[in-house]
Every structure is written in structure tokens, then in C-alpha cells.
Symmetry: C2
Subunit: 391 residues, 2 copies
């Protein structure tokens, strides 16, 4: 018995080990990227389920079109257009969450050895989705706004990559946002090189301050857009979507057939009915209010951290990226934090090659303000134990 | 913009085109493999949904363990053990339907150029799942009971394949079943060669006559088993499962993380609650009664087909495999059948290399007995137009 090489080489996930620890009582977790369960619209969800079963029980229980539920594609298209993200129902394919989207993009594009360009750091799950297809993942040097254009330009010319993967808004893990000028530069470079650029946008609706910025598809209609219901509705329905030009959607569709036949018409109809309700926007307002408060509480706590601690000033999303004082390594901090029953994800797994040794990702959505204050206190203590003694 | 080679080479699916045609009014379809929607347990499904939301709304809406819902793993393990299919909850991973299982098996095992062995013909969806990983798919010569042991033995020795993929019970597309002796021979050969054998078993519960035969895992505890809720519950929840030894499950688990993060806890809990009901076995009895009747009606109709027509004597499942009289090609029959508003799938797509030109797959689960009689009459007429004129 012999597994594929990527599986033979895969190390047990350190992040998964930390997440297991967060299941224990009394642990305050800044580790995952989970929405707040107390904010889930449980009652409305129950109502639309009943509606779906009553109105179309046999439809939602049967096999369904590969492209997705026609009602959901329609509702989504309307919502995207209202958000200045140009799309018709035909430009959208539903998938089993953003992670499935990343797998399908990798499957559609990557042959072994093909180059793909990512930010550094980048989303851990994207690296996990890409690696089984054996790409050559190259990290483009990145500043506070994302990929640095000069480096991107050089790497595009040098490697003719299959695609460029970016997270322009409320980046995971860094929390930061790419400004308008940078968006234009990145898009212009990809367009000139005829290389698809993928905007992964799980948190775009979760802005707590500042003005919205255009989606990459507003700047170039050949850009690929990945969206998800996990943060605006709930992760449990495992639903996301891809917007792309027809030739790419066609390959993604073959991928859906190969990996899932079709996506559940039940969960799709539930999402469509929930999104059609006039209360859906009120729900999003509520999420922004609660999460925004939590972010500000966490940012305030950081001001009390040992000198030399720096962090990203996020305007939305779920994460703050913290750089520890010189000499303090995040991997050393993990056990000291876990001893004090507080959890976070260290920076290294978010780097395609190396980096992030002194960084940590903190999630604020899944803890109450009081838990955040308590947990940040514990974390500050843990850091203090690792601070170099002043001479 | 350049897609992966498999996607560049993929032809538009002829089968999908036929399935589109079946959506038209008055068309009688023997083409898909769809369960009968009028037999779906709509009311019970609605009840368990309510129960899931009431008892554990916030759990089913949140992210969930990669391994699957603990309640469902437990219920499934009990059911498998009762079916002499040895498994504990820990041996089971839930996935997004059998198609996802096939993708995950391919991802866990196949590096480009690796050999995998399949029956001929074999399940079309398996070929679609495997191909994006660039395997060398070799078809093992197959008789009415499945792979011929002498050929399998030679190919195992020659190629050291990554795995052997079989459908021993109510084969898709052939409808046939591998006998006990053949099962023992196949397992003994794979065991001796230390090559995993995969039993794909979507229809095992749908036996209409004859005695049950052992699952391959009863004969070798290292065999891999793929099951699905699509035929025993409904396809719309997109749920299946994999039973395998720990080292393989571990690689599959990494694949689940890479392609889905986790499977919907909502659909899993619904399936667990439905399966726990005492009425679940009555539901299966009902399916067997109705589908069995439909199979017999179709077999009776075949007796009136032109001389030279032969077919498999299925004991269960959803399909009958028909070989047309000499000189009649299934691809020529497709348009003549569609003209008469009856649809079926021709044999060729089920062959990894070539074959099946004179064969067709007929589904009987998704038509009433009257529709089957009418549709088979139309098909007989269509065949008659292609019969060589007797001299």
C-alpha cells in the first residue's frame, strides 16, 4: 500500500492540534476563524427549512443541476450586482464552501510543476487545497497592502504562472486590506500577462469601519471571485460560490461533477430563501455591530501588551495579526498560552516557504468582549514569561 | 489563461446532454440513476430537520469535526455491523456523497502515471473522478461476475497498481453481482499483492431477489468500503461514507480538509436522526418492493425485443445492461430513441479505453411500471428501425 507523495509527506497539522485543545472547558480560543454561534439566525433558518420542504420537498431531496439551484444563483446575482460586483446567474457556480472553491480552482488549472503566485503570508487552507496537485507555489513579497507590484511583475514575466491568488479585503491571516491604487496595479499586471487573478473574499461583508473598495471584477471582468455563506449565514450549510468567465466556469463545472456530482439542493434552497428575506440585511448589520465591538476590545487590549508588540489595524473581517517583541517566537508561546488556557494560531503555517516565526493570528469573532479581555490578559502574561531579561 | 491538461482535453459530456433532454415533458427516461421521488420520506425528513434544529441548532450551523458527526458515525457503525460489515465509528469518515469519496480516494493514492485497475465496463463517475489526477487507468478483462482472476493476477504483478476499484454488488452499469468464490479470489490476489481493493457499494441495500453476499471487508479487513445515503435516503443531502484502515483514513481526512474543511453537520445530523428511527427499515422494505416490481416489468418487456437482444439478469440495484442485436450501435440508437421521447445511456462512456458500442444502460427506478411499459415499447420500435434487413 502506497499513498500519493503529498499524503506521504504531509505532517500532522499543528493547527488542528491547537483547535482540538480549544474544545476543552475554560479555554478561551482566539485560534479558529469561527463565527459567533450566539448570533446564528436559528429561528429564521428553521422557518426557511420548513418552507423549502413544504414548497419543494421532492426537488431538494433529488439530484440537482451541477451549476446550482436556479433560485440561489438568481438571488446571489442580484446581491452581487447591488454590491457593484458584476455577475448574472449564469456567471455563478455554487460549491461546498470556499475550501471546495479553492480545490476546484487548483484542479482546473494546476498540472504538476505549474507555478502559482500567492501572497506571503497567505491563507493556510489555500496552500492545503493546492498542494495535492503538485504546484510550484511561489510567494510574492508582500507589504501592508498585499503583493508588491514590482515583484509581482517580475514573477509574472519569469514564470508565466497559472494564476495569482489574493485576498484583498480583510486578509486571512493579516486582517489588512489592499487599497484602491494597489488593486488597480495588481489587476493591470495580471491582465497584461493574461494570467487569471483570484479574489478570495470570505469577509467582504464584515466591514466595521472605513469605505468599501471595488472588487477585482469591477476592475477586470476576467477576474475570478470566491464567496462564501459561512460568515454571513453559517458554516454548517457548507456553501460558497465562484464567479468567473465562461471558459473557466466550464472547467470548474467538470470539477464539480468529478468531486460532488452536484451540490446539495437542500442547503442551497435554504440559503436562497434566507437571503431573500428582508431581515437578512438586518442580520448582517447585527454581525457588523457585534464583531466590530469585539475587534475594538481586542485592539484596546493589545495596547497593554509588552513594548515591541505590533499589530495590523484591521477594518473588518475576523482576525488581527500580531508581531511579537524581538526575540519572542510564536511557537514557543503556544505551550505557555495553552498552559494558561488561551489558544491562538502561530504565523508559520501561513507561509508557503518560511517566515512568520514571530507572528500570531488572533480571532475575535468567537469570544465575547469579556472573554477577549480575560484571554488577552492571559496571553500578555504568557508573552511576559518569554521576554528577554533587560540588562 | 491556460487550464490543466485534463480540462483542456475534456469533451462535453454526451451523457449530460442526454440527461438535459430528459427534463422535457413527455420524455420517459431510463437514462439517469435517480431514485423515485414519489418514494422519498418527505414528512419524516421534515420532522428530523425540526428535531435537529431544536435540539442542536447552533451545533449544526457551526464548523464541525473533519471526521464527521459523532452521532452519525455511531449509528452507521451499528448498521454496518448488523450487515456483517465490520466497522467502529472510528473506521468511518463522512463525505459529500460517493462521488466525493471517489475523488478523495484518487487524491490520497494517485500521482501522475500511477496505475489503477478497474473493471470493464466500470462506473463512469469513477473515471471522471480519477482522470484529473492523471492515472494510467487499466481495464481488467471482466466476465459476468466481474474481474477475471487470471487477468487481475497478471496485471497486479506487472503494474503494482495503487488500488483496484470494483463494484461487486449490482454493478453500475451492468447490474450484475460477483459471486462468493470470485469475491474470495479477488480479495486473495489483492491481499497477496498488498494492493488496496475498493468496494463501491451504492446499491447493496437494494436487493430484490437472491441471498446477500459478504462485503469485501468481511473477507479482508484492509479492504476499503464506499457507501452512500443517495439511494437509501435521498441524493439531495449529498452524503456518503468511507470505511478504511487508519493509515488510509488519515490521508482521506487530509483530503477532506483540503476539499471541504468538513462535511455539513446539518445534513449529517438529519441523516443520523432519520436512520435511528424504527421506520427506516420499513422505508427500505418499501423501496425494495417498488423497485423490484419495476425491475421485473422491465425484464418482461425485454423479452419482446428483437431477436439477438441480450441482457444481464440483475438481482437488485437500479440498472439493466442490454446488448443490442448484431449490427445495431447504441450511439445510432440514441437519436432514434430521443425522437420517440425515450432516453437511455449508451455503453461507450463506461469503458476506460474502448468497448460497449452495442450496449445500453437502462434505469428502472425512476419510472412507474406503466411508464416502463410505454418507454420500452418506444425503445423496441427505435431498435427495429436499425435492424439489418433480412435477406
Amino acid at each position: 500500500m502506497k499513498l500519493a507523495k503529498w499524503a506521504q509527506n504531509a505532517k500532522p497539522s499543528f493547527v488542528r492540534e491547537i483547535l482540538k485543545f480549544t474544545q476543552m472547558p475554560d479555554v478561551i480560543s482566539f485560534a479558529g476563524g469561527m463565527p459567533a454561534p450566539e448570533l446564528f439566525p436559528v429561528e429564521e433558518m428553521t422557518e426557511v427549512m420548513m418552507q423549502a420542504m413544504k414548497e419543494s420537498g421532492r426537488y431538494v431531496m433529488q439530484y440537482a443541476p451541477t451549476e446550482g439551484d436556479p433560485m440561489l444563483r438568481q438571488v446571489l446575482a442580484q446581491r452581487l450586482v447591488a454590491d457593484h460586483n458584476p455577475a448574472t446567474a449564469d456567471d455563478i457556480l455554487l460549491v461546498n464552501g470556499s475550501q471546495h472553491a479553492l480545490d476546484l480552482i487548483a484542479k482546473a488549472f494546476i498540472d504538476p510543476g505549474d507555478v502559482v503566485l500567492v501572497e506571503t503570508p497567505t491563507y493556510l487552507g489555500a496552500l492545503q487545497a493546492f498542494r495535492p496537485y503538485y504546484p510550484n507555489i511561489i510567494a510574492v513579497p508582500t507589504d501592508a497592502e498585499g503583493m508588491v507590484p514590482e515583484h509581482l511583475e517580475a514573477l509574472l514575466a519569469q514564470h508565466q504562472p497559472k494564476f495569482v491568488y489574493v485576498m484583498p479585503t480583510f486578509h486571512n491571516p493579516r486582517g489588512t486590506t489592499m487599497g484602491l491604487e494597489r488593486r488597480k496595479q495588481i489587476v493591470a499586471l495580471c491582465k497584461a500577462a493574461d494570467v487569471p487573478v483570484i479574489e478570495d473574499d470570505p469577509y467582504g461583508e464584515l466591514r466595521y469601519r472605513g469605505e468599501r473598495l471595488p472588487h477585482l471584477r469591477e476592475l477586470w471582468d476576467q477576474a475570478i471571485y470566491l464567496g462564501t455563506f459561512s460568515k454571513i449565514m453559517c458554516p454548517g450549510i457548507r456553501l460558497g460560490w465562484i464567479v468567473a468567465p465562461p471558459s473557466i466556469l466550464n472547467a470548474v463545472k467538470l470539477g464539480i461533477q468529478a468531486t460532488a456530482l452536484n451540490i446539495s439542493p437542500l442547503t442551497q434552497r435554504i440559503a436562497a430563501l434566507l437571503m431573500k428575506r428582508p431581515t437578512f440585511d438586518q442580520h448582517l448589520d447585527k454581525l457588523r455591530k457585534f464583531y466590530g465591538e469585539r475587534m475594538h476590545v481586542m485592539l484596546d487590549c493589545l495596547k497593554t501588551f509588552p513594548e515591541g508588540t505590533t499589530w495590523s489595524e484591521a477594518d473588518g473581517g475576523l482576525f488581527i495579526w500580531v508581531t511579537l517583541p524581538a526575540g519572542v517566537l510564536a511557537m514557543d508561546l503556544v505551550p505557555r498560552a495553552l498552559e494558561r488556557k488561551v489558544a491562538f494560531v502561530p504565523g508559520e503555517p501561513f507561509y508557503a516557504a518560511e517566515g512568520g516565526e514571530s507572528c500570531m493570528r488572533l480571532n475575535f469573532s468567537n469570544s465575547t468582549p469579556d472573554q477577549i479581555r480575560e484571554g488577552m490578559g492571559r496571553l500578555r502574561e504568557a508573552i511576559a514569561t518569554l521576554m528577554p531579561v533587560k540588562k
